[in-house]
């Protein structure tokens, strides 16, 4: 009789619903949510400025859509390689994870390179904080809003690449296994979020 009561009690032992692993994931989600609101505010401000302007130069003429469509393709690819890296380590394959993390870093670096090329091209063609390209008419706020939003996103990609490199170094040292890979999953959340934001930026800033 006494034994059953102790058994019953052992079933009631306090089990924290937030384990160190799930705590990390929740933390990243909370960060991403606040970050999403920053991007949301930036895009809403862009919309307000654009709607309030008497004339707005057509983005598809000022900015190149084809190059940015390629950049979108690149980020989606790097999201897939990220997801493959997580899949590999969940199956216990460390070298495969490192290969895919490396490919994800490569995707991020090419994206940043293309963005640097795009900015250089636009600045030399006259799109700055105070001017529009020659022959274009419209509000000069085009430049500031464009550089603020794409720059804020580019900073996130830069941070993501550094984050990826740190996790890759740990992965090469053999830190992650089939049982211990939550940090790779949390990294994935961040990287996919950066991809998700770019999907929105591409649509609202370049296409609309």
């Amino acid at each position: 009789m006494e034994q059953t009561t102790t058994l019953d009690h052992s079933a009631d032992v306090y089990e924290p619903s937030l384990t160190p692993d799930s705590l990390g994931k929740l933390g990243m989600w909370l960060f991403l949510i606040s970050d999403a609101m920053s991007f949301g505010a930036l895009l809403a401000a862009y919309g307000a400025i654009r709607a309030g302007a008497a004339e707005w130069a057509p983005p598809s003429e000022v900015l190149g859509i084809n190059l940015t469509a390629g950049m979108t393709f690149l980020l989606i690819c790097s999201s897939v390689t990220m997801v493959k890296a997580l899949e590999a380590i969940q199956n216990g394959n460390q070298s495969r994870m490192c290969t895919f993390l490396g490919l994800t870093i490569l995707g991020g670096l090419i994206f940043l390179g293309l963005q640097a090329y795009e900015w250089t091209h636009l600045i030399t063609h006259g799109l700055t904080f105070t001017t529009l390209p020659h022959g274009m008419s419209g509000s000069t706020l085009f430049g500031p809003t464009f550089y603020t939003i794409t720059g804020f996103h580019g900073a996130h990609v830069t941070g993501g690449v550094i984050y990826l490199i740190v996790i890759l170094i740990q992965g090469l040292r053999g830190t992650y296994t089939a049982e211990n890979n939550h940090k790779v999953e949390i990294l994935g959340l961040y990287w996919h979020f950066v991809d998700l934001v770019w999907i929105m930026v591409f649509t609202f800033v370049y296409l609309l």
């Binding site: 606040s34 989606i76 998700l196 591409f202 649509t203």
Partner: protein, 109 residues
């Protein structure tokens, strides 16, 4: 193990869907539709792309429902923000329009 199996949806299928939607988005811009139709199509496609990334790549579909509610909050707040800005936007457009016209008049002098 069955848990691990559940976490691997068909990523390649999601990838193909995302690529097709991206191509469709670029194509729609060049279509001779009214502007409002293009805008609605673009926003719809962008939101479905974002949803695919969140649900499958970020595994939101396979997490607890609470997390989905948490993840939805910024979206709802942003929609609120846009609606709260709307009256000002309409005013702003009229005001700026008037200002630009007066500037044009000034310049012609």
């Amino acid at each position: 193990m069955e848990h691990a199996h559940k976490e691997h949806p068909k990523y390649m299928r999601i990838f193909v869907i995302l690529i097709i939607l991206t191509i469709a988005e670029v194509a729609v811009v060049y279509m001779p539709f009214p502007k409002i139709v293009i805008a609605l199509l673009l926003i719809g496609m962008a939101c479905s792309k974002a949803l695919y990334v969140a649900l499958y790549f970020m595994h939101l579909k396979f997490e607890q429902k609470t997390l989905m509610v948490i993840a939805l909050t910024p979206f709802i707040i942003c929609v609120f923000l846009v609606f709260m800005l709307l009256p000002d936007l309409m005013d702003g457009a009229r005001h700026e329009g008037a200002k630009a016209e007066s500037q044009v008049v000034d310049a012609s002098h």
